[in-house]
Each structure stands twice: as C-alpha cells, then as structure tokens.
C-alpha cells in the first residue's frame, strides 16, 4: 500500500533546496537530476513540482497541464542528455513495485547497465 505524502522525503528536500542534487534540467513543471546510484551509463530522475506519491497519484490528482508539462519535460531531459535516440523510462509504483522514495519520479536510463 502506498503511504501518504511525506513532506520530508528526500526529493521534497531537493525541490526545496534543502538537499543537494546534480541538476540536469528544470522548468516550471519538473526537476531532473542524476541518480546517486546509477544503474546505467545515463541514469537521471525526473520529478514533478508538486506533492504526489506515485505515478498513479500524479495521473489521478494533477491538473492536465501539469501532467502534460511533466512528460514534455521528460522528453527535454532526454534531449539535453543526448540520448534521444534510445532511452528507457521507468517508474515503480508502491513498495511491492520497488518504489522507495514516495515522491513520484521517473527514471530515465540509457547506455550499458552498470
């Protein structure tokens, strides 16, 4: 079962500037930064600027312009990373789905696994 949103989760702290990150992209809808434990040559996380625990929560609760803006941001991240010809997007939903941080995030992966 997905827990309630915790305003002290690490991604909330990164969004507030209270925790560091290596930023690769930011706009009004999203922030993207390097995963500190990369599983591939390129491994970036994109998160929306809002309090959503999971993709399901985001899809059901966020306004359409934010949902669209977020996914457009994901595309721009891939372009900025130079991986637009080949990348994988992944998102884990719920503890049983492997989700660890309960602020919705999308993994953008490209290149050989590490």
């Amino acid at each position: 079962m997905t827990p309630a949103y915790d305003r002290n989760n690490i991604f909330a702290k990164i969004l507030r500037g209270e925790a560091p990150c290596t930023k690769v992209y930011e706009d009004e809808f999203a922030l993207a930064f390097r995963d500190i434990h990369p599983k591939a040559k390129v491994h970036v996380l994109a998160i929306p600027k809002g309090e959503y625990v999971s993709l399901a929560d985001f899809a059901q609760s966020a306004p359409p312009d934010m949902v669209a803006g977020f996914w457009r941001a994901v595309t721009r991240v891939a372009e900025r990373l130079g991986v637009a010809d080949g990348y994988r997007i992944g998102s884990n939903v719920g503890p049983g789905g492997g989700q660890i941080v309960f602020h919705f995030h999308v993994h953008i992966l490209s290149g050989p696994r590490q």
């Binding site: 949902v67 080949g86 992944g90 998102s91 884990n92 719920g94 789905g97 492997g98």
Partner: protein, 136 residues
C-alpha cells in the same frame, strides 16, 4: 497526416500491429479501454502480469506523444494507465511502468506504448526484475 516524429524515429506506420489492434483488425485480450487508451495483455509476458497500454492516436513514441498530443489526451492517457493497474488489481501489490524509446532502447513497435508489469516482487527500476525487450 501523421506528424513528423522527433528524434530521428521513422514516421508513423499506420499498419503497425498496435494500430491494427486499435482498428479491430488484429486480436488482443483487452484489459481496459476508454476514449484515450486501450490496454491489453502482452503476448510475450515478462511477468505474471504484463499489459501494454497504447494511446488512441498516431504517436511513435513517448517523445512524439508528449510533444504532439494535447494536454487532455496526455492527461487522459496517464489516467488510463493508472486505471488499468487498478483493474488488474495491482494497487495494493505495486507495479512497474516501462516505456522504451527508440531502436537503441529496444523499442520494436513504433506506436507509443507503456508496459505495466506486476504480479511478483519487483526491485529497482533496472535491477534483476523483468525488463521487457518490447516484443510487442
């Protein structure tokens, strides 16, 4: 007319298998459908639950979809993905979503689609769990 896709992907092919499924010309085992999306079982499942969700429109990839579709369609599509997971009974157990973009990432069918994978304990997004190679 299909839009010119970004990122060097081939133009949209109206005879791709998912387009044919959407037109009812090819069979599928339907899981969920609404005005924005169709969800059906993957014929080569990588996990006990492995469903594909496709938008009702001509988009080669997530990048094309995000760049070209309206806000309403994008939001409706992702809501349909969440509803599909609910229909599959995955809200309690959890699940993984994957989308491959481009031939370098094993995208095989060039109609944008999201994999919903569940039915067993999953680990990190690129860990040892099932990784669809996009067999369609």
């Amino acid at each position: 007319m299909p839009s010119q896709p970004p990122h060097h992907l081939a133009p949209y092919d109206r005879n791709n298998i998912f387009a044919r499924i959407l037109r009812g010309e090819a069979p599928c085992t339907r899981v969920y459908e609404d005005e924005f999306a169709l969800a059906f079982n993957n014929i080569h499942p990588a996990a006990p639950v492995h469903v594909l969700v496709v938008p009702k429109g001509e988009y080669v990839s997530n990048a094309d979809f995000s760049a070209s579709a309206t806000d309403a369609l994008i939001a409706g599509f992702w809501r349909a993905v969440a509803k599909t997971a609910t229909v599959l009974g995955l809200d309690e157990s959890g699940y993984r979503l994957v989308a491959n973009h481009g031939p370098d990432a094993n995208q095989v069918v060039f109609h944008f689609h999201v994999h919903i994978i569940g039915g067993r304990q999953l680990r990190g997004v690129s860990g040892r769990g099932p990784v669809p190679s996009d067999g369609g």
